[in-house]
Symmetry: D2
Amino acid sequence: MPRFSRKETSIVQQEIELKDIMEVRVRFSEVDSLGIVWHGSFVKYLEDGRESFGRRYGLGYFDVYEQGWMTPLTHLEIDYKLQVKYGEEIVIETTFLQCDAAKIIFRYTIYRKPDLAVVATGSTTQVFVTKTGELELTNPPFYLEWKKKHGIG
Amino acid sequence: MPRFSRKETSIVQQEIELKDIMEVRVRFSEVDSLGIVWHGSFVKYLEDGRESFGRRYGLGYFDVYEQGWMTPLTHLEIDYKLQVKYGEEIVIETTFLQCDAAKIIFRYTIYRKPDLAVVATGSTTQVFVTKTGELELTNPPFYLEWKKKHGIG
Amino acid sequence: MPRFSRKETSIVQQEIELKDIMEVRVRFSEVDSLGIVWHGSFVKYLEDGRESFGRRYGLGYFDVYEQGWMTPLTHLEIDYKLQVKYGEEIVIETTFLQCDAAKIIFRYTIYRKPDLAVVATGSTTQVFVTKTGELELTNPPFYLEWKKKHGIG
Amino acid sequence: MPRFSRKETSIVQQEIELKDIMEVRVRFSEVDSLGIVWHGSFVKYLEDGRESFGRRYGLGYFDVYEQGWMTPLTHLEIDYKLQVKYGEEIVIETTFLQCDAAKIIFRYTIYRKPDLAVVATGSTTQVFVTKTGELELTNPPFYLEWKKKHGIG
């Protein structure tokens, strides 16, 4: 991540994006009686994307748990654009969203694989909770380090 | 829907609420490895509420389908407030939200049964699509009648 | 089912059946693209039945866990007889099957509610495992007591 | 597996196996509150294997449907051997089982990827049903041809 001048730094700053891309094939069990993917199945696709991101960047369930934290969702949002059918393949793009609060926010775009038409977009917000269930309002040290390591914040 | 004065009309207008309340017991299969309800299971609870509303007020999947329409979701949103555990019972409150556009909007509040603490809130938006998949931008006649019958709009 | 002679007693003995009956309405999300209940949804119905049995007779997940045991499935079997559609109601009958080995065996019959036609039958076998994951080959004392209390074995 | 004598040919005949092998990573949503894969999730793994087999050999859902048939399950059976945890990868082996009756029978073996330890075995039986729901008791011509093409029966 080369930085050349102060001015450019701020521009670079905004453009830093941690991103994961993965592919999923729609399962028969994910399709509803109208022959299209049941809207609830998209919650799994978002989770697939989030898990794949976690494996790629070391922010997976176990990475976080080992540090003493759990990160339950506090918000989930999905906008459906196109219907997907059984047997179709989709591409899940998961983007980490910079945020100063003690939260993990992801944006998701789901594409139809052949033509990359946008099928759905979504976002999730997660907070830090101790293993005994207490909400943490400041960023845990491990998370600040993780951000630093990846040039965020 | 008695209306007495112009002023009161607007108040009454806002207070009309079609609502359904149902109870659900958390299933073992809905709980994740942290022992709490997996966030995706709430999509089913919203659907449970919506279906129960549909049966109560004649706006169920089949009622709509018989009229020639399908009503896929275009938006889904959930805010998680409290964690629910296996074996707990929850109460799902589904409220129809008045809206002039050709959409069906529901608000949901999910309570823990014993103390009625709010566990989650959510909303869904559905649109009207013909059986051949074309989006309808004006309210279908049957839906306008349904609204009229229930004193809405 | 009163029977008086000694000889008959032994027959009665075999006829003792611990049984639970519950009702479930088919959810939209449980139906596949053919408009009928996806075969995998029946695994949930069996679990619904098993949990309802557990609540009724004190052999639920928590009852067993409190005694220091978990009871994972080692076998699952389902025979499908009739297709069930969205919106239909089904009745789940769960019967405890006497067995001397350190196992919990249930038989299930799922009926269509209106005419009680048999929709599916099934069975599950569970074993006793300690919380650290070791298989137990003899019946745990609490289970022998539970059986005795319910006139089994 | 080269065999040269005529006599042995007939033996070879019996040994012909149509088989598919695929890999799946356990999803967080497939794990239960004990931290292990919920037994019901295996029904999806079997379906994953069956669909992958169908794509490979032209016996997929759509291939069959285009010929005018649906193939609902009449029997499902799973034996669980080892527990699988979140994040682990599994291998699903799906084997077509020769059978003269108008049925499609698959055997499944699910392995833990790193050491190929057997995690579960299973089988499913499907029958042929017309699109209007009538059971077919003789093998549909397309299926006989499919078998012939793949050297079966």
